[in-house]
Symmetry: C2
């Protein structure tokens, strides 16, 4: 289901031969209407892949009727030839569906710097267009790269549905982490309203997932609305449902991050501002020494304080509390309960940092730094 759970959508996942493994690698999601309202958010990386450059133009008018996605190649830093492949892909989809190429979003994921073979991509478009139907499951499988499992989520609103799929396992970092996400819904909302809802939802979900601090060139989260339910919800209510889908998908991405053996939930409380809370959480999420310690089940809270000391957030290092899995190991910047009281053997780790400087909070999701992370990422392109 996922992207085909909401009324008005069809999808397909097929094999175009882009992946050396020979698995599903090409997906198509089509909005049959009656509306074609859409919104999308993109990587903030200045090094943008060709499909990002294309899709940013295509979504500018707030409408999109189809999204075509491939794994097996990022089509990034592939020169004029690479952009032509993206352009031709959109045109082939438009031709097959009888729509404008300007209403086709394109997403790619895989290795940077390799050309996508145009013949295989065009064959993939034909195959996918012919296979369209209630195939959200196949579509979610076709966008996987190093993902070990597909990520799907469905939530019901009052008379409407929001469903989504996501891929992403490495290069997961904020300002949109390396991920491709497609969310569909059958509500009646304008493109401007969808944009507001999507920006809120991503801000507190995907933008707070920082698995390895590395920001991708290809990230894209798209939201398509068909209007097929006939329901026009309050924007706040819709945003809540959409946010629930995004949080669910973000947690699935965290749980499947490359090589991770712990899912770390960093809750920053007592911050003067939400931005402070995010900055502090992020600094810990990016601290390799802390992350390696968690891998070793070592509650090394000194590395937490060393990390947050690099931020500009408002706090006094000698008035900070740190708890790990409910055990307060640091109180007011000094040792509290012994490290040995902390059991880090479960996969889930809860780290709480109390800055004692205000009422704001934020939660950042990250993972530990493991042998398997190094292994997977030292052998990705070879």
């Amino acid at each position: 289901m996922s992207v085909t759970a909401a009324k008005g959508f069809e999808a397909a996942g097929v094999t175009a031969g882009l992946k050396s493994s020979g698995g599903l690698d090409f997906a198509l999601v089509v909005n049959r209407g009656p509306l074609a309202n859409a919104a999308a958010v993109f990587t903030s990386n200045r090094s943008k892949a060709n499909p990002i450059i294309w899709s940013q133009q295509a979504i500018a008018d707030g409408t999109a009727s189809a999204i075509v996605l491939n794994s097996g190649g990022a089509n990034c830093f592939t020169g004029a030839q690479g952009f032509q492949v993206t352009h031709s892909t959109a045109e082939a989809v438009a031709f097959a569906l009888g729509i404008s190429s300007g209403d086709v979003l394109v997403c790619s994921t895989g290795l940077i710097g390799d050309q996508l073979p145009l013949d295989k991509v065009l064959a993939g478009v034909e195959l996918a267009a012919a296979a369209l139907g209630d195939h959200g499951e196949e579509a979610s499988l076709a966008i996987m790269t190093t993902d070990s499992k597909p990520k799907r989520s469905i939530k019901q609103g009052n008379g409407y549905t929001v469903g989504g799929m996501a891929k992403g396992a490495g290069m997961l970092a904020p300002g949109l982490a390396t991920m491709l996400v497609v969310i569909t819904t059958d509500v009646v909302l304008s493109s401007a309203e969808l944009d507001i809802a999507l920006r809120h939802a991503t801000r507190v979900s995907f933008d707070r997932l920082d698995s390895d601090g590395c920001m991708s060139t290809n990230d894209q989260v798209s939201l398509l609305a068909s209007g097929a339910s006939g329901v026009e919800p309050e924007l706040d209510a819709f945003t809540q449902v959409l946010t629930a889908v995004c949080v669910d998908l973000a947690e699935q991405l965290q749980g499947d991050a490359e090589g991770a053996s712990h899912d770390i939930r960093i809750e920053v409380v007592g911050a003067a501002t939400e931005d402070d809370a995010v900055e502090v959480g992020r600094s810990v999420a990016r601290n390799n020494l802390f992350k390696a310690a968690v891998f070793g089940n070592d509650p090394n809270w000194g590395r937490v304080l060393a990390a947050i000391g690099t931020t500009d957030a408002a706090f006094d290092p000698y008035d900070v509390d740190v708890s790990m899995n409910g055990v307060r190991v640091c109180h007011a910047g000094a040792p509290d309960r012994p490290r040995t009281d902390v059991d880090l053997s479960p996969r889930r780790v809860d780290l709480t940092i109390d800055l004692k400087s205000g009422e704001h909070t934020a939660t950042i999701l990250t993972n530990d730094l493991t042998h398997d992370y190094v292994h997977e990422n030292s052998a990705y392109s070879s």
Copy 2:
């Protein structure tokens, strides 16, 4: 030799029993004058260890006659008791040498959050004071933690000497990387002149070493001048010699970084400003995906471009060249020579990034991300 190469200095390295290994763990460096001019730079981490808080006060008047250093404990986030240990250490050194405690700098390195045993520290002071002599070598051994070898450097100026020792193997990052460095010289220069020279030298050496992106709570680089040579050099000439010592020590720190199998030299050229060059180099030095690829001898230049795209530096991602070990793998943001032409099997890796936006350059030193890095840092405190 190292810190005892310049005239007017004595040193000692002894065993105070702070390290569980039972090795040398306590060092003392004494300036016998006639001058006691000094300068120091400290970690910019807001989470500062007790010895940093002490030493910043002690150096404020531009004079210091002794530096006492211990491994086996960082004395950081150890509360009022921890600060008292630092204070007592300085007073014990002052008593033993017949100087003011305000002229004693204190440095500590080791695990954060554990108390240093005062009795052992005070015994160490007595032992070290009694062992003072031409023992720069023992001192450089006593400050090692996970270092596999001591770091020492000596350079001759025109009639004067600059010598130094350093420790640091993990938590190596900028804005002073996790390191303790003591440099001695017998020139006749004022504290203000020493400060200018030291800030220049560290800016282009230790501040451009970013092994793992983690900034320590205990970093300190101190420069003591005895005036015993009677030579008053031009400040520029002295700064050159001092910089050579700092660069030499920084490269030794890089070469001994925890678990590293490659020393990566990131040269950014064609930058609009030196700050841009540093920012771009730093973004690559902190990209775990790129660093893991180098560990796997994989010339994955796409990860270089993904990293620099996160910066605010002036450049066009589609006009950037990237070379690895002399092979230009990316030209104007598109693939150039094949990855297979690049041999990353030697320990030394030269990465050159041409931003084509100006005339400025900077070189950042870093290391790869390895299984051994993860292993060493997952088992440090346990």
